[in-house]
């Protein structure tokens, strides 16, 4: 596998100066492994949703889950997160769960 010069040099600096991995090969392999794992995981989920459409979580479900995974204070206010999810997709249809949590946090801070 041939890497473009710029990321290859950047990886070498990260390994040498920052100790990011034992070698540039190890760094590249780990990044590739993580990316492939994410792609496979999403493909498995998409196949499952195709077979079980009711199982697909909506943006609000994902925002609540993201807040819960982080132990975010807004995890205890799912109603606020659900309202934020409904609001944010009006202007940002591609918003993800973390965008919703951030938006809800901003709304909560503004109204405090």
């Amino acid at each position: 596998m041939r890497l473009p010069v710029a990321p290859r040099d950047a990886a070498a600096v990260a390994v040498r100066e920052l100790g990011a991995a034992p070698s540039t090969t190890a760094l590249a392999a780990e990044a590739l492994r993580a990316t492939l794992e994410a792609i496979v995981m999403q493909a498995v989920l998409d196949m499952h949703y195709a077979e079980h459409p009711d199982a697909r979580p909506d943006l609000a479900d994902l925002a609540v889950a993201a807040a819960e995974l982080d132990g975010h204070p807004l995890a205890s206010q799912p109603g606020l997160l659900r309202r934020a999810a409904a609001e944010i997709v009006r202007t940002r249809p591609d918003a993800d769960a973390d965008d919703v949590v951030l938006w809800a946090e901003a709304r909560a801070a503004a109204s405090a």
């Binding site: 990044a31 993580a34 990316t35 794992e37 994410a38 792609i39 496979v40 995981m41 999403q42 498995v44 989920l45 499952h48 077979e51 079980h52 009711d54 199982a55 697909r56 979580p57 479900d61 994902l62 609540v64 889950a65 993201a66 819960e68 995974l69 982080d70 132990g71 995890a75 993800d96 769960a97």
Partner: protein, 136 residues
């Protein structure tokens, strides 16, 4: 440090059974993990093997194929963890599976989140280890 998300017995069962009332709720957490992985956040999911036994999750059983494909790694009960789990069980009275879960929590240097239907037992098993507990 990469956060670790652990499953308890009911979370595992809910994940493996599309008809389970909490299937979608557990899937929302798995999907949130998948999205973070896609962004390069090194979050991982795992299940202690004693929890897998309690949940009936047999990796050779085709009915568990979906869960098997989600890159959820096993945390095996090695001799050191067996000692820890035994001490946790003696101290708290939690189940063998929850004691193994507690041993995994206490042995993990990374931040841990547990998906569970029994937060009190997980809190007891985790001891002083800071743990994010999500009640499903």
């Amino acid at each position: 440090m990469s956060p670790v998300v652990l499953l308890d017995n009911e979370a595992a069962q809910a994940l493996g059974e599309p008809g389970h009332p909490k299937h979608r709720r557990v899937l929302s957490h798995v999907q949130a993990v998948a999205q973070r992985k896609r962004r390069g956040t090194g979050v991982t999911m795992a299940i202690p093997t004693a929890v897998r036994v309690e949940a009936g999750w047999d990796r050779t059983d085709p009915t568990w194929a979906f869960a098997n494909r989600l890159r959820i790694r096993d945390e095996a009960l090695d001799p050191t963890q067996a000692n820890q789990a035994s001490a946790i069980r003696r101290r708290t009275g939690v189940s063998v599976a929850d004691a193994h879960l507690g041993a995994v929590i206490q042995a993990t240097a990374e931040p841990v989140t547990v998906l569970t239907n029994d937060p009190d037992d997980i809190r007891a098993a985790a001891g002083d280890q800071p743990t994010t507990i999500v009640t499903i």
